[in-house]
Amino acid sequence: MNARTRTSSALAVALPALLLVACAGGERLPAAVQGEAPSTSAAPPAQTFTCPADQQEVGDLTPKSYAPDGPLPSPDDLPAGSTMAAIRASGTLRVGVSADTLLFGARNPQTGQIEGFDIDMLKEVAKAIFGADDDTVYDLLDIVVIPYSQRIPKLRSGEVDIVAHTMTINCVRWQQIAFTSEYYTSGQRVLVEATSSYQSIDDLAAAQATVCVPDGSTNQENLARDYPQITAVAVPDISDCLVAMQSGAVQAITGDDTVLAGLQVQDPATKVVGENFSFEPYGLGIAADRVDLVKFVNALLAEMRDDGRWQAIYDDWLAAALGPQSPPAARYGRTEG
């Protein structure tokens, strides 16, 4: 090997080595950290429920519930092994409610308490189970605020004992949960800007308007079924609809007249228009397998209709906004199985 070859060989070895040193990658900034929440069990596949032909109460608009077994038992005399006894033993009644439906269930920011017609109904149930008085009954409610779409799932999962959330009784829901007898009768209407020319749901349909509706509600089902020409915007809660209308994203809100009355109180630049275009009988929701609790609450509601407690609660919360009204009559006849 001559000198020139040796030099070339040395270069051939040295240069790549130098290049490697020069190119050696150092520290770089890694991508952003992304933590993951602990995994939860997968949600069960969504089931579709339909109303069986033999249970469709055509022409009988007041859905039937279970008749009480007898007079309401006293709090100290609850049937052993019953759902009511178990609730009493647990120390609280777990209730699913709305916190943003003014007049029915809304949080009072001054007191921090949720109050309204629905809450007072639940207080009566708690009094009947625990024997509490007016001053202590609120503390016996284990309140879980739930959106419309979670009313049935929370009952089916057992996370709450009873739901009072402006919930309409209907046949499809009866396939999933049980209802007490009707405790309030409402109907679906529309809320529009005070200056709007729309006077009814038909006007909105003719204009193919965009209308906001709470997701998972019967209002949504009614709108899709009866007014397909309307563009429905579904949001988690009815309050989100008011935000949507105030920001101009929708031209109207549809919901039960009771709920719309609560929205109108919050925004005087709006008005409720048109006639009721649906019949919305409200019931308290209870898990389908807790028939004893349904019968117990039905006995309580029967007492409240008779002794004026229902009327007093109505007058406290709704009479000013909705005018005088009497308690709806109870309809029974549903049998277990």
Binding site: L18, E27, S239
Partner: protein, 416 residues
């Protein structure tokens, strides 16, 4: 071009075939001068590029820290807005003032950073600026409705919070882009450093080989100018290479330590504020529970960032501080889940959870500020000296070329 090609070809043939001595001398001289000039020019260009790339990396890192500061202030403001909503009609005045200060800082920060980033990133920041105006409007509507006891306030708050989440996602995208810019500039700086070596070592070989041949051919011990040229070249390779390497190594060390730690501290603070905000939202929603999944995801991000920061800095204090808050949060959730919403609310607003979170906020704020300053200083000083080196290299390359001319010229004169 053809003439030049023919001359080079003849010269190469003379070297290869051992042509006459003057021709070989001229060939060595021309070859060495060309490579020396290339060494000076390309070496200076390479060092300049490394200097510039490290400077750009430093700028990107400072913009990254600035965007993170904007994000942390935004989530802090959002956290305060939710906390004050949970308080109801009577807000905490000091927190309200902090909310306004943070929102103003976000607004100013977006404009300041927007002027210094690439157009795509600037467009995203401009969009966030526009959303910020809408966000503050929504918060005001939430606040006004809440004070009147109107539930629609909660819907406005949710809408504002969703918008804040969208804004944070955009800011994260900008940060991701800036991280890439830091890394790309470091890669570019790495590559630029090759020019010094690619021209310097062949030049040294040429000088040593040519000098050796001249000494041998003319029976002299040493051709002084060529020896000096080789010495200067070697010195530049060693000192210049070392300075270049040191600058690169300083920048990479700063990236791997203080900058990464500052990055993680900001991420941890942002995720912690998001978790704290979700704690308030969960209580506003009162026991719905679903939002705690979001708390857990944010808390996991914060804990993960703090754990990595602990490995880098060796200071694990914040891991424990955040852990204390996480325990206090669990107690809040347990109270709410057990039906004691008032107790949970009190613990979150003014009790153990509030105290634990305030301790984390204070400690992490100090750590983030210190790490941010350290990172900025380390990144900006990494390229110190490279500007001078660039000039020195250029002049030295020309000097080596001149020495080559003198060295070979002495021997060529013997043939005149």
């Amino acid at each position: 071009m053809q003439v030049f090609g023919g001359t080079v070809g003849r010269a190469w043939r003379a070297v290869a075939t051992g042509g006459d001595t003057p021709t070989r001398l001229r060939t060595w001289m021309v070859g060495s001068v060309v490579v020396a000039v290339l060494f000076g020019v390309l070496g200076a260009v390479g060092v300049g590029r490394r200097d510039s790339a490290l400077g750009d990396g430093d700028a990107a890192s400072q913009q990254l820290i600035a965007v993170q500061d904007v994000q942390v202030r935004l989530v802090h403001a959002d956290s305060i807005a939710r906390e004050n909503y949970l308080r109801g009609g009577i807000e905490d005045a000091a927190k309200r003032a902090t909310y306004e200060t943070e929102l103003a800082a976000v607004s100013d920060g977006l404009v300041a950073v927007g002027n210094r980033v690439l157009p795509d990133d600037a467009a995203m920041l401009a969009a966030v600026s526009a959303q910020l105006t809408r966000y503050s409007g929504l918060i005001e509507q939430a606040r006004a409705n809440n004070r009147q006891g109107f539930p629609v306030g909660a819907a406005y708050l949710r809408t504002a919070n969703d918008l804040a989440t969208t804004m944070v996602a955009s800011l994260r995208d900008v940060q991701s882009s800036l991280r890439s810019q830091v890394n790309d500039n470091l890669d570019g700086a790495d590559t630029a450093g090759l020019w010094l070596h690619l021209t310097g070592w062949p030049l040294l070989v040429l000088l040593l080989t040519g000098g050796g041949w001249v000494a041998f051919r003319f029976r002299r011990l040493l051709n002084v100018p060529l020896a000096v040229a080789a010495g200067v070249t070697l010195l530049l390779l060693v000192i210049g290479g070392s300075m270049q390497g040191s600058a690169m190594s300083d920048a990479e060390n700063a990236t791997g330590s203080s900058l990464q730690a500052a990055d993680l501290a900001a991420q941890a603070r942002s995720a912690a504020f998001e978790a704290h905000a979700q704690e308030s939202s969960t209580l506003i929603a009162r026991g719905s529970g679903g939002l705690d999944v979001a708390w857990q995801a944010s808390a996991a991000t914060a804990a993960s960032a703090l754990a990595r920061m602990c490995i880098i800095t060796g200071d694990c204090t914040l891991v424990g501080t955040f852990g204390s808050y996480a325990e206090a949060h669990d107690a809040v959730r347990a109270s709410d889940d057990a039906g004691d919403w008032d107790g949970a609310r009190a613990a979150s607003l003014d009790g153990e959870a509030a105290i634990a979170f305030a301790a984390f906020d204070e400690a992490s704020s100090a750590a983030a500020a210190s790490l941010g300053a350290e990172a900025a200083s380390a990144m900006s000083s990494a390229a110190d000296g490279l500007a001078v080196l660039r000039v020195v290299l250029f002049l030295a390359g020309l000097s080596v070329a001149a020495l080559v001319l003198v060295g070979y010229g002495q021997r060529l004169r013997e043939y005149r």
